[in-house]
Amino acid sequence: MFPNFPIWPVRAATSASNLDALFIFLLCVTGMVTLLIFILITVFALRYRRTLVEKSTPILGSVALETTWSLVPFGIFLIFFVWGAVIYFQERTAPADSMEIYVVAKQWMWKLEHADGQREINELHVPVDRDVKLIMTSQDVIHSFFVPAFRLKQDVLPGRYTTLWFHAIRPGTYHLFCAEYCGTQHSGMIGSIVVMNPAAYEAWLSGGGGEGSLASTGQKLFQQLGCGSCHRSDTQGRGPNLVGMFGKPVLLEDGRTVVADENYVRESILNPGAKIVAGFKNIMPSFQGVVNEEQLLSLIAYVKSLQGSQQREPVSNRPAVPNVSAQPRVK
């Protein structure tokens, strides 16, 4: 799987191909300039060595020349900047219908949860040729999800969700590293990403012992915690109706507007008073310390699944059976 002396990492995702093109361009341009400097220094050092030259020729400088070698590099830098920024922007913007996987990092392991309920540790199975979006958080310190074969890296922060997406193009097993120093066993926080053909992936999925989808786990928890007594699916609840809310802008009591994304739902569970929806009171208790990171994610998955009938179809883990979780789960 891993050759003994690699000088170029495997290219296993679309992001890797995009990036390699820019990298090769950078390598060529900077390589040529570096070579030029080395050659000039060597040539000058040899040509003008003290035994060959009687006396140095005074030259004060040349504004034209210096302006040129200020502006030309800057022009080239602008190309690097724009190209790099475009790739970065693509890397940060996940396609809308990506398959979502939740990642919880802790000292020193990766916990990964599929929407369908499969849980993995330090190993992530994904199908080839699908857009996969990771929604990541950490239970303790900052970690970083790094897959060299995808040329992707994203810090995983405690107290917040960060995301990463990729589109694998080559089946195989690839390194997953923690790239942000996270304490004693930092170098042990490694795992692998297994990119599989659709058929193999199906087989793997059916072999895994999921306990129902993540959203259904979240639904159970939602009932256990009694959330539904206020967050009713009609307009009579003491809390806002959650159906169809996810991903939409929400008007707040203080006049601001926020988009109800993962981070907002998270904040509203842990710290309900921070951003109150217009028309409601600050009566919800905090669930800080009551739910752990994984339970939070299942609640978020549940809230996401509460789309009105006209909503875009929820994301499924199973390309073969696309609409398995599309039925609204709210009665």
Partner: protein, 543 residues
């Protein structure tokens, strides 16, 4: 007081003007304080170097077999903290700058000699605390002190290390303050800004960064200390804080700090190359203003350390753009130094070899910086060995080479004696080869995906790691050589004379070693900097 002197063996100069411990530890003479700094930072350099060797030895094999994981983490943390705060930052400013700045502008001393001494004492107190930290178990935060790891999870001497860096930071602030005021207020008649040697321009730019950046490091480390000691919520997300705020505060100082380390080195090279090309520096104004440009623009780029940390995409683009902008003045400098050699009369003396090595290695370090400023590429190579290689090319390949160039160049002035030239050349070559062998493989390691700060690593990375470790032993020998022959030369070196290199600059117009007040009479400057066409066309001493 220095009496009238002629150049004889018995002449009174700053070294023999007074004797005894008191005359050194209570001196306010900038030259003696420079020597105190020289001894102190050399000590810390070898401590940091020792840690580096242990790190390289551990990485010889993929398994973590030489030291435990926590020991390894302490090694790289303390290597970083010692090298950055106790060697690189004070190296050129506090040693060469302290020694040369008053002489280069024709002053008797820095503006605040007692504050200068105080800065050395602060450095020693900070350094002493760092040694105490090391001896009582060390610290494993990395040099970056990232929260919440540092404030809530690690059990080592985090607060102690932070305090020691806090104190060393004040030493650095006081040095910078002194340089700014000295350069503004103490210049000899005729020494206009346009006539100042470029070493002064670059140290002035450095001082700006020291003065404006270091306080922000001080407050961020204070907040880390408070959060850790009293569990006050400032950055820790579990207490409601935002860990990225710490990173912003930290890098606001610590990125410009990179320029604190490299700018003075650029100054040294700008002195050495004209001297051994027997020629004016090409485009004085551009090189001078480039230093100031770097100092200002250097403050607008810090978040390029945070492209994958979870900052806003748009903000990342702003910082990426400024990162390319700050590369322009550095590029100007490299081109101008190279152009200075054109049609010169070039001497392959030791300082010149180091300076040429500097240009090459700094160019490589700078060019790889362009990869890191490109947002998409940074995502892949940040936090890998690519970064490690990149900043070692700047810090060690650039800064340490320049520091050694300067030390050799001004050694005759400092000690009054010549170092052995043949040994000097040998050491320069050894360091150049050892350096490249150590750090070039790390670029490839990083590109292929080996993360930094890894105690054990997948086996396919071993070949390059072995190469790197092999290089580090060569590098270690290279660094020991100058240490030995400098000491040797103090007793056995040839007498240097006032101006062995036939160099321009006021410091060469006084005796070697200089008298306590540098000049018998305040000089009056009537010439431009680097007036090599008016100086001997040959370097007198290099035969």
């Amino acid at each position: 007081m220095a009496s009238a002197t002629t150049i004889t063996a018995e002449r009174e100069h700053y070294l023999n003007a007074d004797y005894g411990m008191r005359s050194w530890f209570f001196t306010t003479d900038h030259k003696r304080i420079a020597l105190l700094y020289l001894i102190s930072i050399t000590f810390f350099f070898f401590i940091g170097g020792f840690f580096a060797l242990l790190i390289r030895l551990e990485l010889l094999t993929p398994q973590g077999d030489l030291v435990q994981a926590d020991t390894y983490n302490k090694l790289f943390s303390m290597h970083g903290q010692v090298m950055i705060f106790f060697f690189l930052i004070p190296a050129v400013p506090a040693v060469l700058g302290n020694f040369l700045i008053p002489m280069m502008i024709g002053a008797k001393d820095l503006a605040f000699p007692r504050i200068n001494l105080l800065s050395w004492y602060l450095f020693i107190i900070g350094g002493g605390l760092m040694l105490y930290t090391i001896l009582t178990g060390g610290v494993d935060t990395g040099w970056t002190f990232y929260v919440p790891l540092s404030t809530a999870y690690l059990g080592t001497h985090v607060v102690l290390a932070a305090v020691s860096i806090f104190i060393a930071g004040f030493s650095s602030i006081l040095t910078g303050l002194n340089f700014i005021v000295t350069i503004h207020r103490m210049r000899a008649p005729g020494m206009t800004w346009g006539r100042m040697p470029l070493f002064l321009w670059s140290n002035y730019a450095t001082a700006i960064i020291q003065v404006l950046g270091t306080p922000v490091l001080a407050i961020s480390l204070s907040l880390v200390g408070l959060e850790r000691l009293f569990h006050l919520g400032v950055f820790n997300p579990q207490l409601g804080g935002d860990p990225l705020l710490f990173q912003h505060l930290f890098w606001f100082y610590s990125h410009p700090a990179v320029y604190i380390m490299i700018l003075p080195g650029m100054g040294v090279v700008s002195e050495v190359i004209p001297c051994f090309s027997r020629k004016r520096v090409f485009g004085y104004e551009f090189v001078a203003l480039a230093s100031i440009g770097i100092a200002v623009l250097g403050f607008l780029v810090w978040a390029h350390h945070m492209f994958v940390a979870g900052i806003s995409v748009y903000s990342a683009m702003v910082f990426s753009f400024f990162s390319y902008l700050v590369a322009v003045p550095s590029a100007i400098k490299v081109f101008n130094w190279t152009a200075t050699m054109y049609k010169g009369k070039i001497y392959y003396s030791t300082p010149m070899l180091y300076a040429m090595g500097f240009i090459g290695l700094f160019t490589m370090g700078g060019m790889t910086g362009l990869f890191l400023a490109a947002l998409g590429v940074d995502v892949h190579v940040t936090d890998t060995y690519f970064i490690v290689a990149h900043f070692h090319y700047i810090m060690v390949g650039g800064m340490v080479m320049a520091y050694l160039a300067g030390l050799h160049f001004w050694w005759p002035k400092i000690s009054g004696r010549m170092y052995p030239e043949a040994w000097g050349k040998l050491a320069a070559m050894t360091i150049f080869i050892g350096f490249n062998l150590t750090f070039f493989p790390q670029f490839i390691l990083g590109w292929t995906g080996m993360p930094r700060r890894y105690h054990a690593y997948p086996p396919e990375f071993q070949v390059l790691n072995v190469l790197s470790t092999a290089g580090s032993t060569v590098l270690a020998v290279g660094y020991l050589l100058p240490m030995v022959y400098f000491l040797w030369s103090l007793r056995y070196g040839k007498e240097a004379g006032d101006n062995p290199w036939g160099a321009a600059g006021l410091e060469w117009k006084t005796a070697s070693p200089p008298p306590t007040y540098n000049f018998e009479e305040t000089p009056v400057v009537t010439w431009e900097a680097y007036n090599y066409e008016e100086l001997p066309k040959e370097v007198p001493v290099v035969g």
